[in-house]
């Protein structure tokens, strides 16, 4: 009888160990498969990075200066739509150095109401220096900076 009472503590310890294993296993399993929502606190930063990367990618390919300096606004909008995910709404505005808006056509994708109601709107500023334009048999390469302001939000 004394021996039986002596083993009681050991059983409790084994139970605790097993329970701990179960809890650890459950936590690990949940951590692997859980798709946690992005924290609103960091959402703007994530979108800002995304915006920078998209514009930089288009610039590296030589598409961004071509679209901006040849006023190919529809092509620019299509390129951004293809590059960004479907749930990312954007509004791009092109300014010259005097702060005058250059794009006469809206470069916008998404729902205006979603944009207006969203609490997390990221804004990215991106600079272009100029673009050589073919005139006759030669090229004109003039320093003519443009500032691109890209606003992003999730739909």
């Amino acid at each position: 009888m004394t021996k039986k009472n002596g083993n009681k503590g050991q059983i409790r310890v084994i139970e605790t160990i097993l329970a701990s294993f179960f809890i650890m296993f459950a936590l690990t399993f949940a951590n692997i498969f859980a798709a946690l929502p992005t924290s609103p606190r960091y959402e703007a930063t994530e979108l800002q990075k995304l915006g920078f990367n998209v514009l930089q990618d288009l610039d590296e390919k030589g598409l961004l200066p071509r679209f901006v300096y040849n006023n190919e606004w529809d092509n620019l909008r299509a390129a951004l739509r293809v590059t960004l995910s479907a749930d990312t709404h954007f509004n791009l505005t092109v300014y010259d150095l005097d702060g005058e808006k250059v794009n006469d056509v809206s470069i916008f994708y998404g729902d205006y109401q979603t944009f207006a109601a969203s609490k997390n709107i990221a804004s990215v500023s991106y600079g272009l220096v100029g673009y050589p334009v073919q005139v006759g048999g030669s090229y004109q390469a003039v320093y003519e900076p443009r500032t691109l302001i890209l606003q992003l939000t999730r739909g």
Binding site: T45, D59, Q140, A141
Partner: protein, 245 residues
């Protein structure tokens, strides 16, 4: 056996303590990763900003070389002037970052991809030769005070080389190679990119070559007479004029 059983009471406690310690360490590692993840995040944003500034600087060097090589009266201070303007305009394009950009332009003879270029304010063209080229070079030092970055250096080079390999007067064909920075061949040139002085080009074709990778054959109308002068413009607008022989 009975003796062993009697002495094994404390072993379970030790194992439990060890396992709990292991779990604490594991949770500690997970928590540490969770805390430090967002701590490093802004650096990725700043890296894209640095990438944008670097690309813009390269574009400015290319634009200045295109202006220099296409101008009827080229000014060697065009790169210097553009850089000064860009340094001032950068704070308006990227407000709040505290970006300052300084540039050094080489002057005098330098070796550029096997050829000697005598720079004037970072610009040079050596034309009217079988192997002709245009080149621009600038070394930048970038400071971004908002993140405490100082002395970030990088060099931007714009280069275009046109070499006339052969001229066949019987078939009126000129064979040339066109290369850019790091002696990389340019693939996407068409008839509009070339001009032959005094002749009309009827066709431009490209083919693979073991030695030069890409070789362009310019077919001209009429009979070719030596010497032959060929002009080329790449997609960046940079011009080179080569002459054979």
């Amino acid at each position: 056996m009975r003796k062993l059983r009697a002495n094994s009471k404390g072993q379970f406690v030790i194992i439990a303590v060890l396992l709990i310690a292991l779990m604490i360490v594991s949770i500690g590692a997970v928590m540490s990763r969770a805390v430090t993840y967002y701590k490093h995040e802004p650096w990725e944003e700043y890296l894209t900003l640095l990438g944008n500034v670097e690309i813009s600087s390269s574009r400015l060097v290319e634009l200045s070389l295109a202006n220099y090589t296409n101008s009827a009266s080229p000014s060697s201070s065009i790169l210097k002037n553009n850089l000064q303007n860009w340094q001032g305009d950068m704070s308006r394009i990227y407000p709040g970052y505290g970006i300052t950009l300084a540039a050094t332009l080489p002057s005098g003879p330098y070796n550029v991809y096997g050829a000697t270029a005598t720079y004037s304010y970072g610009l040079n063209y050596t034309w009217q030769k079988r192997a002709s080229f245009s080149v621009a070079n600038a070394t930048f030092t970038l400071n971004v005070t908002s993140i405490g970055l100082t002395g970030y250096k990088y060099t931007s080079i714009a280069f275009l080389n046109l070499t006339i390999l052969s001229v066949n007067t019987d078939t009126s064909e000129i064979t040339v190679t066109v290369k850019r920075e790091n002696s990389e061949p340019i693939f996407n040139l068409e008839q509009d990119n070339f001009q032959v002085d005094g002749r009309t080009i009827s066709k431009v074709s490209s083919r693979y070559d073991d030695q030069y990778i890409v070789v362009y054959t310019i077919k001209c109308q009429g009979t070719l007479t030596l010497p032959v002068t060929v002009r080329v413009w790449d997609s960046r607008g940079i011009k080179v004029i080569a002459r054979y022989p």
